[in-house]
């Protein structure tokens, strides 16, 4: 089916790299693996990793992907890249030559992004990626084979850990303070401020800071907190929690930069392929394919499209701004290209959208906000003068980790009963109760004592409890 030889791909790859270097992209060494659809499905089920610890949920993912693929509901992606050094990308064997060219160019965009964006640089070590996953896989397999542990027990922990895994710190570039540092900070905070008029004001009453509570400051790393503060966990159980936490944090940057990353890769694949001077047949196919990837999907957000639009707009505003724009945003401080490379390094989706998604762009993309009303989703705001700001806020809240509720450990000895007190930081969006109940049960499984979750349901503060008697719920005043 394929209309190319691998040697041709190598030639094209050389030309693509030449162009990419001219544009100033900077990437890890690249490896391409050509695979068939079964291989691709396999990689997709395991997030692209050549080795990964076993768990039934990946079997389910595979089964589901395969069903959707077999029934023609979903196609397969043209490529998949993982952020390792060397970066590994998978190419679908049955794609046409043009698709391979487009994909290769696209992959270099991602590769450059992985190497330079701060979220990846601060959270992952690309040169260890493959070994990291492999070592995890081996450890988990060994626990499963150990006659005193076995598959069932390992799964019990993994199931529970998976349920809580996204409840972790969101910005890994910010260092987490240790307990001692938190104590220090609390004591410092309690010192009276220097006051030149103290003679007039009198000495403020000294309030002793709380330093004995654990955690002192609410802790977002729920899994790690349980690992470090439940003395009844065995070493292998702690290790499993560590593994799940580490893997989640590995994938966090991907989640946090979906729009930027896809937009960036699309922006550069377009530049590169256009610079390649393709013959007419290939060029027409390129235009068709490019537009297929970047077409807006009415009713939802296509990260390729939104990202691409913002990057393009950013470049244009810094090279040939209209007088109106100069009036509104000031004269550009940098030339377009420098600006692009700076932004790809220091932003993530939330900040990227907040800073560079303009009212004009939103109007051009006809962005709207919908709300559930009864059984239907109804548009309640469109990008006009009144609505655009709110729509932008909603969009920012729903990208990346914004779609995961913020839940922190507030107290590990609530009511002096070793009850784990979790608090959901409510921002207008309620938790889905059925899922909250089951997830709390998993927290109980790991913590071994009662777990409670403070949240707000339909504007009423509520406390969900899970203990040895099962689930219960009560209102808080």
């Amino acid at each position: 089916m394929a209309n190319y030889e691998v040697s041709e791909l190598v030639d094209w790859d050389n030309r693509i790299r030449e162009k990419a270097a001219e544009f100033g992209l900077d990437w890890f060494p690249q490896e391409f693996e050509i695979c068939d659809h079964n291989g691709m499905l396999g990689y997709m089920a395991y997030s692209g990793m050549p080795s990964h610890y076993p768990h039934w949920s990946f079997g389910k993912a595979y089964e589901k992907l395969k069903t959707l693929y077999d029934y023609g509901v979903n196609g397969l992606p043209y490529e998949m890249v993982i952020n390792s050094n060397p970066a590994i990308a998978y190419l679908m064997r049955d794609n046409t030559l043009l698709l391979q060219i487009l994909t290769i160019a696209h992959v270099y965009g991602h590769n450059d992004f992985f190497k330079n964006n701060f979220t990846f640089k601060s959270a992952t070590r690309a040169e260890l990626t493959i070994e990291f996953f492999k070592a995890h896989a081996m450890r988990v397999r060994r626990y499963m084979e150990d006659p005193s542990i076995g598959v069932e027990k390992v799964e019990r922990i993994l199931d529970a850990a998976h349920a809580l895994s996204w409840q972790c710190r969101r910005n890994l570039a910010i260092r987490k303070l240790s307990h001692d540092e938190q104590v220090e900070r609390a004591i410092e905070g309690a010192q009276p401020r220097p006051d030149p008029f103290q003679r007039l004001h009198g000495r403020p009453e000294f309030k002793e800071p709380e330093t004995r509570k654990i955690p002192l400051e609410p802790d977002e790393d729920v899994l790690l907190f349980i690992r470090d503060h439940n003395p009844f966990l065995a070493e292998w159980e702690k290790d499993l929690l560590t593994i799940v936490d580490e893997e989640t944090k590995f994938f966090l940057p991907m989640m946090e930069t979906k729009i930027m990353n896809e937009g960036w890769a699309s922006y550069w694949h377009k530049k590169i392929v256009e610079a390649l001077d393709l013959e007419q047949g290939l060029r027409i196919e390129f235009i068709v394919r490019h537009n297929q990837v970047l077409r807006p999907m009415p009713g939802s957000i296509n990260p390729y499209h939104v990202g691409f639009k913002i990057w393009e707009d950013l470049y244009r505003r810094h090279t040939e701004p209209t007088p109106d724009e100069i009036k509104k945003y000031g004269a550009p401080s940098k030339n377009g290209k420098d600006k692009l490379f700076e932004v790809r390094e220091v932003e993530r989706d939330t900040s990227f959208l907040r800073r560079y998604l303009t009212e004009e762009l939103m109007r051009e993309m006809d962005m709207f906000q919908y709300e559930p009303r009864g059984d239907e989703l109804v548009i309640d705001k469109v990008s006009d003068e009144d609505g655009w700001k709110e729509i932008k806020e909603t969009l920012i809240k729903s990208v990346g980790t914004g779609s995961i509720p913020v839940i922190k450990v507030e107290d590990s000895d609530f009511g002096h009963n070793r009850t784990l007190y979790l608090k959901h930081y409510h921002d207008g969006r309620d938790l889905l109760l059925e899922y909250a109940e089951k997830s709390l049960a998993f927290a109980y499984r790991l913590w071994g004592r009662e777990c409670v979750l403070e949240t707000s349901l339909q504007s009423k503060r509520s406390l969900l409890c899970y203990n040895e008697r099962g689930f219960s719920m009560r209102a808080l005043k």
Partner: protein
């Protein structure tokens, strides 16, 4: 400025060999079976499966196994791109159930309701049903069960195991691999140089690798085995037993047994027979119909031929006893007897029935009585349940079946009486 890109070509042989998700798919499938097991009572109540032959494939709709996390609920607003025509008030989709159809924007943070429809063969279903029972080991007498076939199967390799199962070849290979992986440069250089020396003669045989050379170097450098190198063969044993069982189905075929009652009885016998078949290799089945007299009949007659007249339950039991003495000696056969009736016995027969029932209970592994009273009828008809209450045998169980949903619970109750010890 950058290293060269590597292209790894597609090799069909690799693709065929690497079905990496097989193990996880299997575990997932087991989970799905568990969920079938949870709904088993509903599935059993389906009339369509009773009396089907074993190869019949039935479709069972199932909810997918959910992966729970903390997620946002229904009141979450979202953002979409429009086609330039978006106006407030326009409907763009459905909430909840169909939320998935909306594409990337929402699919990720919504729980999908996955419905699988799984094909399960009846045999598999029966297997699942009985896994559910978790019975104490059925009483088995020495002669009734002879291990006829004990085999061990090799099943993969493990890092841990007992010493006799150490796979020396693999262990050695692991050690070589580790040696190569940790190899110091000079060692490798040495390997290469020895390789070259020998090369001239052996080149055709070993163009690339020379494991022999590596080993030689290992010997020189003393590279001992490590715990991590050890590989053990993993064996699984499979014991098959030769065992005989007979299922004696006794049913009241008097005039008062209508079609509905017979259907319920039939469901029960069906389950019993299927269950016994999974536990014993050689299973025979005997049908006894009775009204005032009992006779051994064929399956066809048993379920379809209506008779009329009154009922002497003792006649059925006596017939069963006769057949057992004649053909199924209790020391060689596991005997399971079950009697279904609507409980409408002649009063004068009750003492005889009780006596024969006691005798039956003494020689059977399990003896049960199921009183079939479609809902409502139990208040004005006489019942044998009161009579059998006086029968105090540990392996006797009387159950009441009022509707088809009762079949599975009563079946479980019946089997729970199985004698553990003699």
């Amino acid at each position: 400025m950058n290293d060269d890109t590597i292209f790894r070509e597609y090799r069909p042989s690799d693709a065929e060999r690497s079905d990496r998700s097989a193990g996880d798919r299997l575990r997932h499938r087991e989970k799905v079976r568990e969920s079938i097991r949870e709904n088993i009572a509903d599935i059993i109540a389906e009339e369509s499966i009773i009396g089907k032959n074993k190869d019949k494939v039935i479709k069972v709709p199932l909810r997918g196994i959910k992966e729970y996390r903390f997620i946002y609920g229904e009141n979450t607003p979202g953002v979409g791109e429009g086609d330039g025509e978006a106006r407030p008030g326009q409907v763009v989709g459905k909430t909840g159930k169909d939320g998935q159809g909306k594409g990337d924007g929402r699919a990720g943070d919504r729980p999908g309701v996955d419905y699988y429809e799984t094909d399960v063969s009846l045999e598999e279903l029966i297997e699942i049903m009985f896994e559910d029972l978790e019975l104490p080991n059925l009483e088995r007498r020495a002669l009734r069960e002879i291990p006829s076939d004990r085999s061990t199967k090799r099943k993969g390799y493990r890092h841990v195991g007992i010493r006799v199962r150490l796979d020396k070849r693999r262990t050695a290979r692991q050690r070589v691999m580790r040696a190569l992986a940790t190899g110091r440069r000079e060692d490798l250089a040495q390997v290469e140089s020895t390789d070259e020396n020998q090369g001239a003669a052996e080149e055709e045989l070993q163009p690339q690798h020379a494991p022999g050379a590596v080993l030689q170097t290992l010997v020189k450098r003393r590279f001992p085995f490590h715990q991590d190198d050890l590989r053990y063969k993993h064996l699984e044993t499979d014991i098959r037993e030769d065992s005989n069982a007979v299922v004696i189905c006794i049913m009241d075929t008097s005039g008062s047994m209508d079609t509905m009652k017979k259907y319920l009885a039939r469901s029960f016998f069906f389950l019993l027979y299927q269950f016994i078949s999974t536990r014993y290799r050689n299973v025979e089945i005997v049908f006894i119909g009775h009204h005032t007299e009992a006779s051994e009949v064929t399956e066809e007659e048993f379920f379809h031929k209506g008779e009329s007249g009154g009922t002497f339950i003792s006649s059925g039991y006596q017939k069963a006893l006769d057949i057992i003495t004649e053909r199924y000696h209790p020391s060689l056969w596991n005997i399971y007897a079950f009697h279904c009736s609507d409980g409408d016995n002649f009063d004068s027969d009750n003492p005889a029935a009780l006596r024969t029932a006691k005798e039956l209970a003494e020689i059977c592994n399990l003896f049960g009585y199921g009183e079939i009273k479609p809902l409502g009828s139990r208040y004005y008809e006489s019942s044998m349940l009161n009579v059998f209450r006086r029968l105090d045998e540990p392996n006797f169980q009387a159950v009441l079946i009022e509707r088809k949903e009762d079949i599975w619970p009563s079946f479980k109750a019946f089997l729970s009486k199985d004698r553990v010890k003699e």
